[in-house]
């Protein structure tokens, strides 16, 4: 009984923690963008504008939750929930520190890939159910982009799996005790990072939203809390990808002096900031360029990486 209670407590703490972190990211992103763009950003509500998050949340909660009459209602309501649910579920397998984590699945990595694949449905269904042309175009772009980047996102991680010999994320972290995988698997690291940006559809891969082309793309018709779920879902996605990069390539919680959890947090934070910096500096690719880049550059690269890794692993054994 006690065991269950403790497990429940951990789940709730992680869930709340993640929600707070991703909401806090909204503030962080706005402040960092402002810093890089020679302006102030939100600095009025609370100290350093920190309570801006609370203000935003209050706004989102109390806005009229409007469903357009032409939309396909059940699917329209379901779509934003999918992104939240799949992203939260992905976090279940992430080992934040030794012993701190929800489950220690032996197929953790596959579970993560499966969940992020399901996340595509959120974009596609939102675009389709909105029954609006802009949303449809955004949904189509999103589907094509995320499906094709899914392919080599998965493939890029296989090198890590080969080196570890396990899909278990804790095992992967432990396997990096001597050397972080970012060094032997550098191409895979870069590819996973790029695929991760595409997966969370952030600049330069934010084509499904592309505010100055498609207004807001797949979530153009959403408002209130449902929009908020897409919004927070995006930041959750960023946190997830940053956490995954940390776990898979940067030795997760490993590090000297500081407690493991802090190391994990610091590494993740750096990558979150990198995501925001990308947004501050890069323009957006065109749809066909994005696809060509994916299939013609990234896929051959990731396959080559797999071959080389495989050959080395074979030679060593």
């Amino acid at each position: 009984m006690n065991q269950v209670l403790i497990q429940l407590a951990v789940i709730i703490v992680i869930l709340l923690g993640l929600t707070t972190v991703s909401a806090g990211l909204i503030w962080l992103e706005r402040r960092l963008l402002a810093l890089w763009q020679d302006r102030y950003g939100p600095n009025r509500v609370g100290p350093f504008g920190l309570l801006q998050v609370a203000a935003d949340m209050i706004k989102i909660f109390f806005k009229e939750d409007w469903i357009p009459p032409f939309a396909d209602k059940p699917v329209f309501v379901l779509a934003p929930a999918i992104i939240m649910v799949t992203t939260f579920l992905s976090f279940a397998v992430i080992p934040f520190a030794p012993g701190i984590g929800i489950v220690d699945l032996n197929i953790g990595l596959l579970f993560f890939l499966a969940m992020s694949s399901l996340g595509v449905y959120s974009v596609v269904l939102a675009g389709w159910a909105s029954n609006s042309k802009y949303a449809l175009l955004g949904g189509l772009r999103g589907a094509a982009q995320m499906l094709s980047y899914e392919v080599f996102m998965g493939l890029s991680l296989m090198g890590v799996v080969m080196l570890t010999g396990s899909f278990n994320l804790s095992a992967i972290v432990e396997a990096q005790r001597g050397l972080w995988f970012v060094i032997p698997q550098f191409p895979a690291f870069v590819i996973f990072l790029i695929a991760g940006v595409a997966e969370t559809h952030r600049l330069p891969f934010d084509l499904p939203e592309a505010e100055n082309e498609l207004v807001a793309g797949f979530h153009a018709e959403y408002s209130g809390l449902k929009f908020g779920m897409f919004f927070v879902g995006e930041y959750l996605g960023i946190t997830l990808i940053a956490a995954m990069i940390t776990t898979l390539f940067l030795g997760g919680w490993l590090g000297p002096v500081l407690p493991p959890f802090v190391w994990f947090f610091l590494k993740t934070f750096v990558f979150i900031c990198l995501f925001i910096l990308l947004r501050a500096s890069l323009p957006r690719l065109r749809f066909d360029q994005l696809m060509a880049f994916g299939w013609k550059v990234m896929l051959p690269l990731v396959l080559a990486n797999l071959l080389v890794t495989g050959a080395i692993v074979l030679a060593r054994s």
Partner: protein, 578 residues
């Protein structure tokens, strides 16, 4: 041999009746029947042809008093052509009789005549026979009347109280609905279903109230139909009831990012009509402010262009720079976007004490910034991938569509009024005219970026060589009139009083003046009937023909390319709709 003699030899003296104007542009009258062949001859028959339809407009002549030796006409069509080889314009006028006359459409000859003929139908009720799709272009589709006709009141209050009842609102909205069959399009063709996407009038990528209807096959643009007129403010009608002097602030609102560059052609045209010679100091002040505003305009363009490509930061940087420019403008004239600073015969006042330091600071500050933008925007590989080869115009296409300014120079054609027809002392300055070769979106951007550097050079020369002297011509028609002698005798007091309260009476005549504005060639064609306001003021703006070329530039590309192209041609709706 001058063109009028050449035409008279070819078509007979009866078909070509010359008219004297104040601007020395060869002007002649012809008849509706001979018009197409004469225009064809001018476009391609003569030795050094006139390949560009620079402007096309009409005049309601019915209440005009001073027509001197001009043939009888109720409505006059004015075709303004431009020859690059001759560096000369020609103006062809056609006299039309009756309340609702018609003209033969010249769209087979110039594709760019399309919108102009629609505008003439919309504003004057003159039909262009044979036009592929004559429609209202600036006014709403179910509008009654033709606003530039003299019987149409210039003030809203003369039309009775306006009420928008519910049923009318529904009707108006229904009139705006896009019906593909009106345009000869069908939603299904050869087994392909097309999607019609309504982009705008309030869309983040259209830089103002522009509506584009796209016929899409997937994301591929099969057709783009532009719907303009949402920003129409009757600027030309307004000119007919404001005095010559009080119209100056209205001109600022045409291309509202380019401030004094709008006032420039207007005051130059009025000065030509009135025969005013502007003192040197005023000329140099005008050039300096004009070039500063060109930089300001290009800074806005730079940032929004990058934003159109999805780059979020440059727009903040360039707007910050523009803010520094505004400190100069605020010090000089107290205003920011709408300076209202040029006057007939000069500028409103001398430069403030300490202006040199402000300008010097700006000159020292900008080059480093421009270098930085080169690195983050122009040298960025994604920017290049998004814009190189996208929306290219050849030189001939550009001329056919009436494209001018940086967009024309991007096609590798060095044509700039500041060099070719120096006004206000531009021949005294050292600067280069940047050109590019491919005419695509990237080249259009590159030309503008280099133009900013050249403008800085000109401003620097203004700073170093600012002449001393008056800032306004000592001329009875210059505004506002000089006050220093008014209290000495009754005559000058009366004169001052009349010139202030009614405004100057500009002698009857016609003159046009074109300058190199920020976005292309802008020209004012003013007709004075010997009165305190213009009888007709035709504003030729660069953005109007530029937008007209967009469908041709975007065919076969996709939505992202459309946004990139719109960003690269630097148009503004105030400039399009007037």
């Amino acid at each position: 041999m001058n063109i009028i003699q050449e035409l008279q030899n070819t078509f007979g003296e009866a078909a070509v009746a010359p008219q004297a104007t104040k601007d020395d542009i060869p002007t002649f009258w012809t008849t509706k029947e001979r018009l197409p062949e004469i225009l064809r001859f001018l476009k391609s028959g003569t030795q050094s042809p006139y390949p560009m339809l620079y402007d096309l407009s009409a005049i309601d002549e019915r209440v005009r008093g001073n027509r001197q030796d001009q043939p009888a006409s109720d409505f006059t069509l004015v075709y303004h052509l431009l020859s690059f080889e001759r560096n000369q314009d020609v103006r062809v006028k056609v006299a039309l009789a009756g309340e609702h006359p018609s003209i033969p459409s010249i769209t087979p000859l110039w594709k760019s005549a399309d919108w102009y003929e629609c505008e003439i139908w919309d504003m004057f009720g003159i039909r262009a026979e044979g036009h592929p799709h004559l429609r209202r272009i600036l006014m709403p589709p179910d509008w009654k009347g033709h606003p530039l006709r003299k019987e149409h009141p210039a003030r809203r209050t003369e039309l009775g109280k306006f009420r928008l009842a519910d049923d009318r609102e529904v009707k108006e909205e229904d009139a705006m609905r896009f019906r593909p069959e009106d345009w000869g399009l069908s939603p299904r063709q050869d087994g392909t279903d097309f999607m019609f996407l309504n982009l705008g009038p309030h869309h983040t990528g259209t830089h103002g109230v522009l509506r584009i209807i796209l016929e899409l096959d997937g994301e591929r643009i099969e057709n783009a139909i532009l719907d303009i007129g949402f920003h129409h403010r009757a600027q030309e009608k307004t000119a007919e009831r404001q005095t010559w002097h009080t119209y100056i602030p209205y001109t600022d609102r045409i291309d509202y990012l380019a401030g004094v560059l709008n006032e420039f052609p207007y005051v130059l045209a009025v000065e030509k009509l009135a025969g005013i010679e502007v003192p040197d100091r005023a000329k140099v002040i005008r050039v300096m402010l004009a070039e500063l505003f060109r930089i300001a305009n290009h800074l806005v363009w730079y940032g929004t262009f990058a934003a159109d490509l999805g780059q979020l930061s440059p727009v903040f940087f360039t707007f910050n720079d523009r803010e520094r420019f505004y400190t100069i403008i605020e010090a000089v004239c107290g205003f920011r976007m709408h300076p209202g600073w040029f006057r007939i015969g000069g500028v409103a006042a001398d430069l403030p004490r300490g202006w040199e330091k402000l300008v010097r600071d700006f000159l020292d500050y900008m080059p480093a910034r421009l270098r930085e933008y080169d690195r983050i925007v122009m040298q960025n590989r994604i920017v290049k991938a998004r814009t190189q080869g996208v929306g290219a115009l050849t030189r001939d296409q550009a001329i056919e569509w009436g494209v001018t300014g940086p967009n024309l120079r991007a096609c590798g054609f060095e044509w700039d009024f500041r060099k070719k027809r120096p006004y206000s002392g531009y021949d005294q300055f050292e600067f280069d005219i940047p050109t590019a070769t491919h005419g695509d979106s990237y080249d259009r951007a590159a030309v503008r970026v280099e133009e900013m550097r050249q403008s800085l050079r000109i401003v620097e020369q203004c700073l170093k060589n600012m002449p001393a002297g008056n800032t306004k011509a000592d001329h009875p028609l210059a505004t506002p009139p000089r006050k220093d002698r008014t209290m000495l005798d009754i005559e000058t007091l009366i004169d001052h009083f009349l010139n202030v309260s009614w405004g100057p009476v500009v002698p009857a005549g016609e003159a046009a003046f074109g300058i190199e504005a920020a976005k292309g060639n802008m020209s004012y064609y003013l007709i004075s009937d010997g009165s305190t306001q213009s009888y007709r003021a035709r504003i030729r703006t660069p953005s109007f023909p530029h937008l007209q070329a967009v469908p041709e530039m975007t065919r076969g590309l996709n939505i992202s390319d459309l946004i990139a192209i719109l960003g690269s041609i630097d148009f503004i709706m105030g400039d399009v709709d007037r």
